[in-house]
Symmetry: C2
Subunit: 487 residues, 2 copies
Amino acid sequence: MYNNLGDRKLSMLMDFYELTMANGYFANGMKDDIVYFDMFFRKNPDGAGFSIVAGLAQVIQYIKELKFTDDDIEYLRSKNLFKDEFLKYLKDFKFSGDIYAIPEGTPVFPGEPLLTVRAKTIDAQLIETMLLLTINHQSLIATKANRIVRAAKGRPIMEFGARRSQGYDGAIYGARAAYIGGVVGTATTLADEVFEVPALGTMAHSWVQMFESEYESFKVYAENYPDSCTLLIDTYNVIKSGIPNAIKVSKEVLEPMGKRLKGVRLDSGDIAYLSKKCRRMLDDADLKDCNIVASNSLDEFIITDLLDQGAKIDSFGVGERLITAKSEPVFGCVYKLVAVERDGEIIPKIKISENEEKITNPGYKKAWRLYDRDTNNPIADVITLSHETIDDSRPYTIFDEIHVWKKKRVTNFYVKNLQVPIFINGECVYESRNIHEIKKYCKNQVDNLWGEVKRFINPHSYYVDLSAELWNCKQNLINQYSFKDHK
Amino acid sequence: MYNNLGDRKLSMLMDFYELTMANGYFANGMKDDIVYFDMFFRKNPDGAGFSIVAGLAQVIQYIKELKFTDDDIEYLRSKNLFKDEFLKYLKDFKFSGDIYAIPEGTPVFPGEPLLTVRAKTIDAQLIETMLLLTINHQSLIATKANRIVRAAKGRPIMEFGARRSQGYDGAIYGARAAYIGGVVGTATTLADEVFEVPALGTMAHSWVQMFESEYESFKVYAENYPDSCTLLIDTYNVIKSGIPNAIKVSKEVLEPMGKRLKGVRLDSGDIAYLSKKCRRMLDDADLKDCNIVASNSLDEFIITDLLDQGAKIDSFGVGERLITAKSEPVFGCVYKLVAVERDGEIIPKIKISENEEKITNPGYKKAWRLYDRDTNNPIADVITLSHETIDDSRPYTIFDEIHVWKKKRVTNFYVKNLQVPIFINGECVYESRNIHEIKKYCKNQVDNLWGEVKRFINPHSYYVDLSAELWNCKQNLINQYSFKDHK
């Protein structure tokens, strides 16, 4: 069986600077220094109110399989940049740190640590690119898929985009992430074979063109697939030819076999107009149970608009705008140093920027989600230093980081830690849920979000606040840097 | 050594409908029918005047390795859709057709066949997704890279985007395509090891933060990399701290060793302002040879603007906007049936659409490029039926497909066939150039294009015309369909 990332050699998929830095830490006697890195993002794509995190299963597999082959070492040696001792160290390298992360399928918000690494300098640095790449890509697609799925208001969405995806993995892991985000299946066969994302497909225009007539092409298809017969009806003319031929095949081929025409697919033209006209023609032919599938450059906005106009569509196939997240094709997670250990003490670090939203939250931290006890709706997320706890037996006051006078006293809530341990001392301590459970968990979590956070345009900003202790720590560090002369 | 696609199992990376159609052709006795498919695109991304085609080397490798394993067959059997005889046929399947394609790195234009397949129905259908995915992805990135490279007017561009790419292959093959498009190197180590795209990298902000002071971090870096010392100067404050510390390290560490500070890198703030200020400070410190590298959300438009404002930047690092082609992240190649053979005769097929630009060019065709004999500038591309030739010893008249009165008599030209044979009867007959030659070829071809075609905004539309015979063939088919009753 296809072993996911297993037969890939991805250990060298790293920014070259990770190697020059690692070599530097090694040479400077810093290889065993313990550091803390957070992965977080600053903005939801598409101006959304939340995102869906995904990709953790692949992060786990990557970390487990991270090692450097003799070929890799020889390649690095040929660069004449790395010390022999360092290359020897790499040869036996195995990740030995701790990783905490928010499980896949969880709705997440800007500023909170999706993943935290506590590890030796070299360990933490070498995994930067693969962690970012994996989480950025799958979170991007899961988030986009979830938007499209919600726009369809219960109608199934199929993912159809492999041919327009950005590389093979764009299609394969994209289908995985889209499934987590809520699509019912994919056109990409390999994603079914590998990840159990159900694959489905019927015919292309070329099938129809390959026969002497559209009717003949439909007839042969129906004879071969009587139980799953969905016909593509727009090769010539939907109303004059496609629908009449589909109905004829239903009557002449399928119904005599005791079968039903499962669906017709529209892939061009004005979908709203055509679907209504098709619906009427199918209904008049006693084919009320025949689904109409639409699939032409769709996304959450076009689907919303089509349904708003009363389009009679039962399910959607979505291609390039989902698999590339075309409207905003980048998920912007960053990976930042937040603390170092000196003699066992955790020393918070901050990255200052002229751009205030680019200032990092320092320190080794925890992220908490506060839920309403009656409704299970998340009320707010709070980031604290790691030694803090939030006691949900008593009221808890949250406050805005910038406008600190904006306070809210939260009562009648329960609290959960968002991150869970994934690796401890290099050993994996987490078992990923299977993909169907992740998908179900995701839907459940999104269902529980306030509706206001879920608007496509101008959603409510969910609270992600800092504890008073973390806020003070951050202000102190900012003040230190503002007055420090950098030597 | 990493075998490119070799250790991947990508044969099942296909749209499921390719399998249902193939099974249908098989069951209907059509498996040995010969068909012709063209791959072409309809619009240059970003409203450009041309695109760069790339990905052929991976298409070749995929076709060579295309086969179905026992696991694949068992997976398909579990779907309860495919006939046993068909699965047996797949088990021994090997691509047996012909493929012609335009070599990688060639500037190409909407409407012309980048790749043509002549094969049995099943062979031609099963490769659809992988051909499209491969060429779409790499052409997208090569085209975007070429725009960014041209904007920099000779200053080197480094590709830095792995962490924001859409999947692992987005980074790996993206770096390959970007190199073909003209970047000098990549941050992605694996792309160097596998494809010889030179990898380069220095330090992240985390390196600087890991030390007690910025100066200390620069000093250690310079001691370790005296020959390639580029320092990241914006962790704290570029002007007050970054540049003074870089100069100090140059004077105290590098110059006593007889070395020079190679560069400083700006990754935030107003790059135009900061670069000018840095340039002056470096020059005043006798570091005129120290390069200034900039790298903050750049693309062709921002680079043009920065240079227009006199920014003192010697090279650029470009990340997410290149590796995802963020401004337009989809290259829209399609794969359309253009002819079938019946009793040895080639019968042209057309796909009609309400959208006139979606009507396909029918028939088995050739694409020609006419070059000016004196300047070597391409004058026009002409698509003909495959049996036609263009005689460059005599004047040739081209005409616009829609406004047929727009004619141009071309004289003093020579002509080349754009496509070359890649596979004949399933055997590869083409040897790919190495990547450095492809890159050089690409630059040379782009240099020869008229400047008017190369404008970023509102470029001149290069002529891609049909021969009179092809034009007539197309009009006849359109007229037939307009009057035909589809049965």
